[in-house]
């Protein structure tokens, strides 16, 4: 910041090139010396590195275990890298691991999860974004009351509402189907998504909305032509939130779908915790990584936006 330096020099009443008096020359002068390995830095970085290793350890063990054969696992130490790398556990986890009588691997659960996550994400975001927009810009009497109930409802344990939802879905004839589960995800995603979109739209300049109204645009024109193009970041945040949240869900999957539609998490749990047969830890770990892969990829690709998403979505618990 050369301007500031110059300004300070002028403010102090000296020219930058002014000659230095002897007292100034003998004392400390110029840049303060800084050591890269100061005790403070050693403590800070040392702690952070130890913490980072702790967080990384389970991931490391998972990968190592999944690349070993069972004999090596029985002999060796879980932290040791594989002596002989094998991808067989991965293949088995994907296509032939057994849950009960079914032995077609996690792939079925994967495709179920895709079929659940994609429509649930789209439907819940579509509904919540329009609703948040209505709440932010087109307030009507009673809207705040319903919104308050919705937000308070986000804190109610799911267990309290599960059975009534089972009844409602049964009445609608969609209990046990993918449609039913999509409805459930839409319902439970609604509080946080609506809050997210409402706050975002309310944070946009109100005058923009007014200008559009003077220009004669109505509810949908303003939504699609003005609001939507300005809101891509928040839609991405909402997508991250929903994709990871729905993919990771276990409870709703187990309660609201039939076994043939079980999402990946449920199937994973059934594979690993099934009591029949010999435990194949390498297959289990490969299956675990496969299940965690989708949210992890979303996480590593989206980076900063993910932080924003979960900070907003943390309320979801």
């Amino acid at each position: 910041m050369p301007e500031i330096v110059a300004f300070n020099a002028i403010a102090a009443g000296i020219e930058p090139e002014a000659e230095k008096d002897p007292v100034a020359l003998s004392g400390p002068w110029g840049r303060k010396p800084r050591r890269a390995l100061s005790p403070r830095n050693i403590i800070i970085y040392g702690t952070l590195i130890v913490v980072a290793l702790y967080y990384l350890l389970p991931l490391y063990v998972m990968v190592m275990t999944s690349l070993k054969g069972m004999p090596e696992i029985r002999l060796g130490n879980i932290f040791a890298p594989p002596l002989e790398i094998t991808f067989e556990p991965w293949a088995k986890a994907w296509s032939s691991a057994c849950t009960g009588l079914n032995c077609d691997g996690l792939s079925r659960g994967f495709w179920n999860s895709v079929r659940i996550t994609v429509p649930s994400t789209i439907v819940s975001i579509a509904i919540a974004s329009v609703n948040g927009y209505a709440l932010a810009n087109w307030r009507f009497k009673g809207a705040d009351l319903f919104f308050t109930i919705l937000i308070v409802g986000a804190f109610i344990p799911y267990q309290v509402m599960i059975y009534p939802i089972v009844i409602v879905l049964r009445e609608l004839g969609v209990y046990g189907s993918l449609t039913g589960l999509i409805i459930v995800h839409t319902i439970f995603g609604m509080p946080i998504l609506t809050l997210l979109f409402r706050n975002y739209f309310a944070g946009l300049p109100e005058e923009l909305f007014k200008a559009a109204r003077v220009d004669g645009a109505g509810f949908w024109t303003i939504y699609f032509r003005i609001m939507l193009p300005m809101s891509m970041p928040i839609f991405v945040v909402a997508m991250i939130l929903q994709v990871t949240g729905i993919w990771n869900d276990f409870l709703f999957g187990v309660v609201f779908t039939r076994p043939e539609y079980y999402p990946m998490t449920v199937q994973l749990n059934n594979i690993v915790n099934s009591v029949q047969g010999v435990k194949e830890y390498n297959v289990n770990m490969a299956a675990t990584i496969l299940t965690g892969a989708v949210p992890l990829i979303v996480y590593f690709v989206s980076g900063r936006l993910f932080v924003r998403g979960i900070a907003a979505g943390a309320v979801k618990g």
Binding site: E207, L208, V214
Partner: protein
Amino acid sequence: MENVSVSVKDLSLSFGAVTVLDTLNLDIKDGEFLVLLGSSGCGKSTLLNCIAGLLDVSEGQIFIKNKNVTWEEPKDRGIGMVFQSYALYPQMSVEKNLSFGLKVAKVEKAEIDKRVSRAAEILQIQPLLKRKPAELSGGQRQRVAIGRALVRDVDVFLFDEPLSNLDAKLRSELRVEIKRLHQSLKNTMIYVTHDQIEALTLADRIAVMKSGVIQQLADPMTIYNAPENLFVAGFIGSPSMNFFRGELQLRDERAFVHANGVDFDVSAYPSRGPFRDGQKVVLGVRPEHVRVDEALSRQLSHQAVVDIEEPMGADNLLWLKLAGQSMSVRIAGQRRYKPGTAVTLSFDMAVASIFDAVSENRL
């Protein structure tokens, strides 16, 4: 009622228990430039939003061009509006910003092009048409925002503090341009601001507002020289008018305001009615209506001491102590006084203001 462009009848607006506008009446003539002036929270922007149809009124009616538009949508009122934050659609180019409203209204393509190029020509923004708002400077953005109102081809322009986000230099430039625009288009313009300079320079008439009520509606000179009440007197003018609280005394066929132990001779004051002896009043004198060390004929002189001097270039502002009360006087820039200097003051009572201390209305 010919020539009335916008008419507001008994308009009230309340949010719950809070009354923002209270039985407000206002007629704006065709081609008039009306400024709504007041500090924040006085209801001036609220009134503008009601006229625009962006807020639903609680009571009363709004007419534009003799048509009752109280419940009409904004687009159907024949208005264009310019906002403080410009409110340009960020993802659209300048051209799209200008044409958006016309496209929504399904105006023919040729007509849209014609109106956009006309507006661009008037505002000299042709080179900017393909740019996005983010690539424009503040002044250019505000031009585009004005252009968006222009293409609507309407009778009434509404401005909601359009210059408040600009720096001082740009603000004065655009002020002149808005005035020029009004002179060439001759549209009705309603302009909300908290800046009294904008109000005084632009307006045909100013409506000074406070707490949802119009305090005075008059041309700028009347507002400045003959404020209707104490609020308007104190609000307009910088530094503000000097006030002396005291009592009216009638002696020897002359009238005096006795304040802080000092007598001000106000016989020259053009009062609206007869003075009442012993009436509690507030005497108001603008800083430039006080002479320093040059006696006006037949006026009583007063002794004061210079407290602080604020040289402003063209003017020199003196802060004085007169009978223990602080007051300001504006003198020519080249006349300088050191703090502590004793000076003689005389007041030009012909252009002073006197208000009843209780009702605060002009006498």
